[in-house]
Amino acid sequence: MNALELHALCKSFGSQRALADVSLSVPTGGRTVIVGPSGSGKTTLLRMIAGFEFPDSGSLTLNGQVLVDTTHAVPAHQRQIGYVPQDGALFPHMTVADNIGFGLTAKGEAHHSRIAELMDSVALDANMARRWPHELSGGQQQRVALARALAQQPRLMLLDEPFSALDTGLRSAMRKMVARLLSDAGITTVLVTHDQAEALSFADQLAVMRQGRLVQSGPPMEMYQYPADEQTALFLGDAVVLPARIQAGWADCDLGRIQTNSPLSHDTARIMLRPEQVHLSATGCPGVVTEREFGGNTCTLTVALHADPSHTILVRSAGLLAPLAGSAVHLSTTGTAHVLFG
């Protein structure tokens, strides 16, 4: 069942098109990530779901209740939708406890125990309760913001690049914690980010936006392997894109003959492989390493093929064993190639 339904949402700011005909279904209890480069309209979409912006046309439904359509709109404060903005936006004139308790309706002892419970759930120490927002680190501020949004038991949680201000190690730890916390609570979540790695790891459902349009949506692994077009393919990660002739499910290209996911035949198609599908091997297509980017556990090699040196191919190799630039290598592939049309 779907919790949130976006239907044909359009929005312009003056002559600037922010959203063009965006439709998306968000399944109940799932984690949907909307990913796109900056300026793609993803934050506008999120603010529209929260009720801070209103669409020019289209409709928005949550658990069967119409939040916005052409005739009426439910104001933000009646939507019961949690929102965690990029910088946390903690109220600077309230302590941590008051911030978290802001959305609570309970009074007295119940109020305090609920705050303690919420702080515990986001792994904040109980003695932080009396601190002021400016005394907290970035990660702690985000936790408070999350606890504050959780307090009202939201029907939907919106996260606007909540981890982008954190350092790398903390970011993935926070991501895991938030993902676990929200799935345990069974809260449907929509997260917006420009970071594809974050998107792929957090999402059950991924939606890619570009220039106000929703280009493609689906499970992250499927999107990674079978992107709708080359731009999406490159946005979601490194890719090897080669021209190929396709016949009866097989592609002929500079890397040899590779099985594809398409039964169609095409003379001038392009195929896409992920770098991890290409391996160094004893036999195969000959080439020479032109660049070597050491990255610790893996090393990304750029290989120019003898068959056509103008096409360079990215290959991942175990960091410590990777051949040096200038070495002659042979390449082979595994898995199937994805055919890009258009």
Binding site: A76, H77, Y83, G138, R148, A151, Q152, A165
Partner: protein, 495 residues
């Protein structure tokens, strides 16, 4: 909206009266050498006083907020303290000290001394709340400290400086007591004299119309200088502490000299002359049966007026920050124009209107409070606007997503954050009401005597010694309030 429309009343009065007089007579009344002379006087006063006030106010604010000047807490208190001394008491003190003082130089001197705190306060408050990270970034981009100040800090002070300068400018145009005492003719003193000789004469109304045009020009200038920028901080969480600049041993005496000179002129002179008059007057000038009721009246009118005005300013300030549009700008402008009309024009407009349309409230406290609202709204407005501009709209959104209606979100978040600014605005209004002369004289129920009108009655009879207790009580009453003003503006949100 309603308040703004109400504010149009006095202007409608001026226009209506002009209409009745007819164009030919207007031409005869306006194109006179006398009007030209007043215009030159008024323009010179504004053009010379304003830059001096801006310079002094900003310099003192920077010294007390951003440097390690010895005793800077005390100095900043002393820079606000002149607010407790009514403008006409300033000139009363100077005239007592140097009886020959008159004309433009005297006008400029006393005006700068009396009004620079109006610039000091908002500039200091803004300096305190600026995000230091922006200055760090500027410095990392290779700017020298002075360049950081002029290219990064000063532009962010623009809202505060523009607001303060407008306030000072409008005071210069509308003040009566100060200039009357040092015999410097501005439009306002001329209008007052006209009214006294020919009650409600066309000549005075025409002068008022020209004065209103001057104010319109000033508003336009301020609006252009203010621009369309919004100055909400967009950084994460809360701001860090401000950095403090170390003064070199050579600049410290210079800075201290500037501070103490300002202090001596703005506080020393009134206090010394007041004490001289009090000593000379002895015990018999303390007529408590007159002083105490005056004090009570002043407190009553001041508190009621301040609360009313601040409440009315909230929606206007909020709209002008959150939804700046042409209509809002115009509505806000209407309030300023009204406040720039001398109190007596607003008062007479209200007299005319209440006599014709609302007889029951004629010469009641309601009318007086209404006049205060119209005249002093901009004071609350300037302060509130700067405060609300510093509270990011994102926080209000946040509160709404946590189940607060827009009204409650505004109340619990934005207004709470803007509370110091609102309190400062209310205190300013109270001080203004305590020192108000003309509207109170005309509109208050018979027998009302505030400290200010009492003082004025005494000085009009050249009984300077008897006036001294009134001035002293006014100052003493204003002092704790100015202290509160100072304290509130020191406090930043969450601390």
């Amino acid at each position: 909206m309603l308040v703004s429309l109400l504010a149009l009343l006095p202007i409608a009065f001026v226009i209506g009266v002009s209409w009745q007089i007819g164009w030919a007579q207007i031409e005869a009344l306006v194109w006179r050498a006398r009007v030209g002379e007043l215009l030159v006087n008024t323009v010179l006063l504004v053009v010379i006083t304003l830059p001096l006030c801006i310079l002094l106010g900003t310099a003192l604010a920077w010294l007390t907020e951003r440097t390690d000047l010895p005793g800077r807490r005390l100095w900043s208190l002393l820079a606000v303290a002149p607010l407790a001394v009514p403008a006409f008491v300033h000139s009363y003190a100077w005239v007592s000290l140097v009886p020959s003082m008159h004309g433009l130089p005297a006008g400029v001197l006393v005006s700068v001394i009396a009004y620079f705190p109006f610039l000091y306060m908002p500039v200091a408050a803004t300096l305190r709340r600026l995000d230091p990270a922006i200055e760090d970034v500027a410095e990392s981009l290779g700017l020298k400290p002075w360049a950081v100040f002029f290219r990064v800090v000063l532009p962010q002070l623009r809202l505060a400086i523009c607001g303060g300068a407008l306030l000072v400018g409008l005071h210069l145009l509308a003040e009566y007591g100060l200039y009357a005492m040092i015999r410097f003719d501005t439009f306002t003193t001329a209008i007052f004299d006209q009214f006294k000789s020919t009650f409600n004469g066309p000549a005075a109304n025409m002068l008022a119309a020209v004065l209103a045009l001057c104010c319109l020009a000033m508003l336009t200038a301020e609006s252009a200088a203010r621009g369309h920028a919004r100055y909400a901080r967009v950084g994460s969480g809360s701001a860090r502490e401000q950095r403090i600049v170390r003064l070199s041993p050579r600049t410290i005496p210079l800075a201290l000299g500037l501070q103490s000179l300002t202090c001596a002129l703005a506080l020393g002179v009134p206090l010394v002359t007041l004490s001289q008059w009090l000593i000379a007057g002895g015990r018999e000038v303390w007529r408590f049966n007159e002083l105490l009721p005056a004090l009570e009246q002043t407190l009553l009118l001041g508190v009621a007026g301040a609360v009313l005005t601040t409440c009315a300013a909230v929606p206007i300030a909020w709209l002008s920050i959150r939804a700046p549009g042409r209509l809002r700008r115009i509505l806000e402008g209407c309030n300023y124009i009204t406040s720039s009309l001398p109190g007596i024009v607003v008062a007479l407009a209200l007299v005319t209107v209440t006599i014709h349309f609302a007889r029951p409230i004629y010469q009641t406290t309601i009318t007086v409070l209404l006049a205060y609202l119209l005249i002093f709204l901009p004071r609350a407005l300037v302060s509130l606007r700067a405060g609300i501009a510093q509270a990011p709209v994102e926080l209000e959104n946040m509160a709404r997503s946590l189940g607060r209606s827009p009204g409650r979100a505004l109340w619990q978040i934005t207004l709470r954050l803007a509370a110091p600014a609102a309190a400062a605005g209310a205190a300013l209004v109270f001080l203004a009401i305590a020192n108000e002369l003309t509207a109170t004289l005309l509109l208050a129920p018979n027998g009302t005597r505030t400290l200010a009108t009492g003082f004025w009655a005494m000085t009009s009879e050249i009984d300077y010694a008897a006036a001294a207790p009134y001035a002293l009580i006014l100052i003493l009453m204003s002092l704790p309030l100015t202290g509160l003003l100072y304290h509130q503006s020191k406090r930043t949100a969450g601390r």
